[in-house]
Symmetry: C2
Subunit: 339 residues, 2 copies
């Protein structure tokens, strides 16, 4: 299954929702279209990087793998991508991030009040996308099931984000707490993408649960690789500065793993992270501490465990075919991705 | 129908949703409970003013007036109130308001990042409330209809908020634009409250539409009276400073009416509003200009027109009974309310 025509169809599905018949509201939708990579900051058409669209693609592919017709899942795929982008618009404000995908963020251009409201609007369009499932012949109870999965997921996103923000002021975060947080912030929406795709492809509840497990484990592995790239990623490929997560003193898994060892490395790292800011020499020092603790190997091993579980969940579905093979391939490629 | 036991039932319905089994998430729900008036800023139980709960009460009353059982509408009433409060939490950030109902706003205590996220969480709980309609025996298609009304309404809230924020930088706002803005920001949720109550009370689509019209006109009148109270309200009753909307140079309807007359009054007002800030003498001057233009009488007359239309819409439903009489009473009392 070629992803290009399908991702184009997802863009069209989203685009149909981002339309205003009132000229006075065009800038409101224009800010959303800017964020999605369709317009530039002067609200003129542009082809910009709007993200990888991993989640809608997983949704469509899972629908096919479970035996369904991806046409029927298109509104759900659009809803998932709009939900994801709502959370990015708000996260950028909450994390004080001025840049995303090499462009200024919505709040950096239009201010915090408009950006909060633009995010809220995009969340509502995500909800309105779901109603289009009914037009494609999905039964009302199934639409409600999908809506409920997305509602639960979005609440988990907010719970994860609450923890992430409150972690900024703490140094004593346990690995368990961290895993719970990334479960909410990252894995839950990837799990929902697979679960929703499956629920629109089959009536077999056990199979839907297995695809959900697949998505969850995939999401955990995805975030752990993200943590690795935030420290050891190639700046030329990631588009971020080298060791960007250390520079911003983010307490990601490699850091927490090293802190939790309770040895000289941990104490040295704790002292460095207690300073108000880090310079280049500090960053080199942190990298050396992580190296000595074996943090990269530990986090990579964890990501491999989750990928293994994802593949096992896929096997439990009992399905075979090209789409299923593509899902397996995605799970493997997530481990080796460079950006 | 006595509103006290019913509003208590709405609080219970909301409360059941604001529960976390994870102790680490208690502060997340605590911030929501603070906003709703159930906890103080130390997250200890308190009985505080959490608002008038006008919208859920309208929903339940309309359900009864249309011939339905209000028990079944409770989850929808809770969803409406949670949606309203989501919008207040975000509005307070967007309007830079540090106080609401004599208490500090969520962002003023916990900061903007947490407050954005707490609002997002409350919006999601509003969605999750709707799913409880199914447990009360409401058919799936009816639940979807209610969800769609709320989704459309919330998008209109965001559209109205977009206009409201962008109006801050403009002096040339037409009365037509202003009415469109308050339609989105104020009338649409009151219209939805009545429409949803009716939709859960009857299958008669024409009757549901008439109750919606009632709510819409009521909402327009409500906002116009709000505009009057923001300028001429009694500070001892409203809890705001005298002429608070003039002090903050809000361009509400009495101001726009006076500006639109194109006479000496308009030009004087325009000059005053062009200044970077207003002192007491300026406020007195603005009040005198509004008086000379007859702004109070004009806005009151407009509110009366909308109230008349609300009563006419009620009559179109063809329903009679105590609940219907209470709805009529609410429409009349909105015109004379002092806060």
């Amino acid at each position: 299954m070629d992803n290009r025509p399908w991702l184009r169809a997802v863009e069209e599905e989203m685009e149909a929702l981002l339309v205003s018949h009132d000229p006075g509201l065009r800038p409101f939708y224009g800010m959303m279209r800017y964020h999605l990579g369709w317009l530039d900051r002067h609200l003129e058409p542009v082809q910009s990087d709007g993200g990888k669209r991993i989640r809608p693609w997983l949704c469509l592919l899972t629908c096919v793998a479970a035996g369904g017709n991806p046409e029927r899942a298109l509104p759900a795929a659009a809803a998932i991508e709009l939900l994801h982008n709502f959370s990015l618009i708000h996260d950028d404000i909450e994390d004080n991030s001025r840049l995303r995908r090499h462009r200024e963020t919505v709040w950096a251009i239009w201010g915090i009040p408009q950006a909060i409201n633009v995010g809220d609007g995009m969340l509502m369009l995500s909800r309105l996308a779901l109603h289009r499932l009914r037009d494609r012949g999905v039964a009302a109870d199934r639409v409600l099931q999908v809506a409920r999965i997305l509602d639960d997921t979005c609440l988990r996103l907010c719970q994860g984000q609450y923890l992430d923000i409150s972690f900024e002021e703490r140094i004593d975060i346990t690995i368990e707490e961290y895993l719970f947080m990334i479960g909410g912030k990252s894995a839950s929406l990837i799990a929902a993408s697979a679960e929703i795709g499956a629920a629109l492809g089959t009536d077999d509840a056990a199979m839907v649960a297995a695809y959900r497990d697949f998505g969850w484990e995939l999401g955990m592995a995805f975030q752990m690789v993200d943590d690795i790239l935030g420290i050891w990623g190639d700046p030329a490929v990631t588009g971020k500065s080298a060791a960007s997560d250390i520079l911003s003193r983010k307490k990601t898994l490699p850091i927490l793993y090293t802190l939790a060892r309770g040895d000289d490395n941990s104490r040295a790292l704790q002292n460095l992270y207690a300073a108000p800011s880090l310079d280049e020499a500090d960053v080199a020092h942190v990298l050396a501490l992580l190296e000595r603790a074996g943090a990269l190997a530990d986090v990579r091993a964890r990501a491999e465990v989750h990928t293994g579980r994802a593949l096992a969940a896929l096997a439990r579905t009992g399905m075979e075919g090209p789409a299923q093979e593509q899902l397996r391939e995605i799970a493997r490629s997530f481990l080796t991705r460079a950006k």
